[in-house]
Symmetry: C2
Subunit: 430 residues, 2 copies
């Protein structure tokens, strides 16, 4: 192919940024917090309102909307009937008092970009090799319902639909009932053969900003262990009951929180750990806690380290139970292996960035993303825009518009490139 | 007075035990838990139903019922118009999944005993020097609303009515609104000059059982410090955010829980400590906790020790805040001084026990009780029946009927003794 015959690929047009600004502003308003953040828990009234607005936006722009049984929303644009699909999206749910960008940027940017790409491809009907689809995955955050990544895991078959619908929130409401209550428990999705999945997201860490790099292309993920651990002690009066006879589940929980942190301190930068959620009963000021459940995470790029810590920590928990006269049980255990994203897609994303004078670097993600779920099903690519000070899951989460626009420039370039030249089906569970 | 002229005082009659059994069974049923305990939080529907049943019981037996502005229920029996009052009672609210005896025994035993005493005194009209009243104090437990001892503290003037009505539960509902919703926000109580206050309660500790003693007469209380402490950190993603940059309020809380326990371990039997309640936000599995509030207790008979620990612990909290990059504030602080119960009433209770062949011993109480509140207003006496294994604030809390009946025998003897020979007005804030 000679240089003169290289086609000019579709690109973001000036009106596209405005369309994005309008849709993103709408997303930022539905569930907005006084502190400038977003509180839009899965299948809440706010989530329902945002889903309604998103479906309306899609239909107005010619997308065919389909809601599947776990509430994932697909917006379909057919360019070549019968051809595989190029899927792009993220999630519209947020953490409690979370940020406006996490997930919502990827869905709104994906929708606007695909709508523009479809319009532009219709001017060159022979070139499109793929159909286009945007997606909003249900319950990525895992805030109201655990585990996280629910919608994408059901889509790929990693999680059974029935198990996902049966997940309960802290009030005992199932995800299935919550989705029904907002009208988003849909029907089985017709066959949707995927050529590739692309997601754009805020980094949620400080690396791009610290390294003054405009965009990140994720090449692999950290592995993670996620445990739910319950200590059971004995309810008693905090006054007269003798200290030596107490069986205090909250004391056991406190020792565990510190032990989890100490694991990270021992391993330097190689291990991230946390306890983010703790449920106790009866949680009354003058009653010794009878039961405490902790949600523990260990994350590392080093699976061998992680497995060793998991084994050692089971012993740590037993020792804590013994020292507090409590019983301990591991009620849920999840291991997320380290996963490589498709290398050829990452290479194509980096090449597109270079062609456009955008500084980009390959990087790892510590956080889970729907793109990780999808990577087990089809070639997948995850792009990062910078997060100011790396703050995320926080009302102060912030990415400047220029960074968002630049991300969409690369997203458009990659989607257009893939649409005219689909990737070869790659490894992974299909 | 010659031996032959010693009057036979009123005593418990066989039908009185049956009346008690019936009323106590009713109390045990309203808010009963599957595990054999009681879940009857202040101003809940169950509390409302129990209050209704109690008022009905009182009216049927000739008591005049008065509900005051903080919901305390008084049942009045006039024996000598214009004379001071002999008040006896406890509380009908319970801890979450608490025991059937704590508080409910004292109210039901008091009501049955006073009703019988009044009937018997009417046969000897010249002897009664006092009128009789039973009371159910609002929110003794401090489980749903803090602080505890609310109703009795408002009655004595230790707490302002407006402040008490404004206390909020975890859902933000005020005590005033909660009382209104069950119909128990009443009217100012007419003047009720008190000659004495008597309360009978389960021990909630193991000492009577361990020392094979049938009854306890409380001579003094431990002092207590009750603190609410809030740590503020920064909400962030538990995955990518760097461990070194985290400001984890739950980690600070965990360190505090352990430090509170270590204080007790250092002091041996002289100090009881606990953290029974912990509130965190946002309490999501993959979010670093931005805020954690702990409810801390230090209890000791040694006020000097307690003050020293309070001062030292303020520094401990600062050090914990510094080590976790959080901010700490003491949002509520309460000091309950050590308090002596009226020695002459205790002496009379011990003498009555001896006369009846009941083994009784003077003892201290670690737990707070409404009788402590009342002791600042009038001569007050607190009697303990044994608690099996000392277990309390627990569904398994248990005292055998024989122990309950024996307690009522002494209660009757003491009340009758006081009724015919009122105590001299004693010290304390009146």
């Amino acid at each position: 192919m000679s240089i003169s015959s290289i086609p000019v690929l579709p690109r973001m047009l000036p009106g596209d940024y405005q369309a994005f600004d309008a849709l993103f502003a709408q997303s930022s308003a539905i569930g907005a917090t006084a502190g400038g953040g977003l509180h839009r828990l899965t299948a809440s009234a706010e989530d329902g309102a945002m889903r309604d607005a998103f479906c309306h936006w899609l239909r107005e722009r010619g997308f065919t909307v389909h809601v599947d049984e776990i509430g994932n929303i697909f917006g379909l644009l057919t360019l070549r009937p019968g051809a595989p699909w190029l899927l792009c999206g993220s999630h519209l749910d947020s953490q409690p008092d979370g940020g406006r960008f996490d997930g919502a940027f990827g869905v709104t940017a994906g929708a606007v970009t695909l709508a523009s790409l479809a319009r532009q491809m219709k001017q060159r009907p022979d070139e499109a090799q793929l159909n286009l689809a945007v997606v909003n995955w249900t319950n990525e955050e895992g805030a109201r319902f655990q585990p996280s990544l629910t919608g994408s895991a059901v889509f790929t078959g990693a999680m059974r639909l029935e198990a996902a619908l049966a997940c309960r929130d802290a009030e005992g409401i199932t995800l299935g009932d919550a989705l029904s209550s907002i009208g988003y428990r849909g029907k089985p999705l017709p066959e949707l053969p995927l050529a590739a999945y692309v997601e754009i997201h805020v980094e949620q860490g400080p690396h791009l900003e610290q390294q003054r790099t405009q965009l990140g292309v994720v090449t692999e993920t950290w592995a993670a262990i996620k445990w739910q651990v319950t200590f059971r002690g004995e309810q008693n009066h905090t006054g007269p009951s003798l200290m030596a006879s107490r069986r205090d589940a909250l004391l056991a929980a406190a020792k565990t929180i510190i032990a989890v942190r100490e694991e990270a301190d021992k391993q330097g930068l190689a291990l991230h750990t946390s306890v983010g959620r703790l449920e106790t009963a009866p949680n009354s000021p003058n009653v010794v806690t009878r039961e405490a459940t902790l949600f523990i995470e260990f994350r590392s790029a080093d699976e061998v380290l992680l497995q060793a810590i998991g084994e050692r920590f089971a012993q740590v928990l037993q020792a804590i139970a013994q020292s507090t006269s409590t019983d301990v049980s591991l009620t849920h255990s999840q291991f997320r292996p380290r996963q490589k994203m498709d290398p050829s897609l990452a290479q194509r994303a980096l090449a597109q960035a270079a062609q456009r004078g955008i500084s980009a670097m390959p990087m790892r993600t510590v956080a889970g993303h729907d793109a990780i779920s999808l990577s087990y099903r089809c070639p997948s690519c995850l792009l990062f825009v910078p997060s100011h000070r790396g703050i995320s899951h926080n009302e102060q989460e912030f990415t400047a518009s220029d960074d968002l626009y630049r991300g969409m420039d690369l997203l458009m370039a990659l989607l257009a490139d893939l649409c005219v030249q689909p990737p070869a089906p790659a490894g992974g569970v299909s």
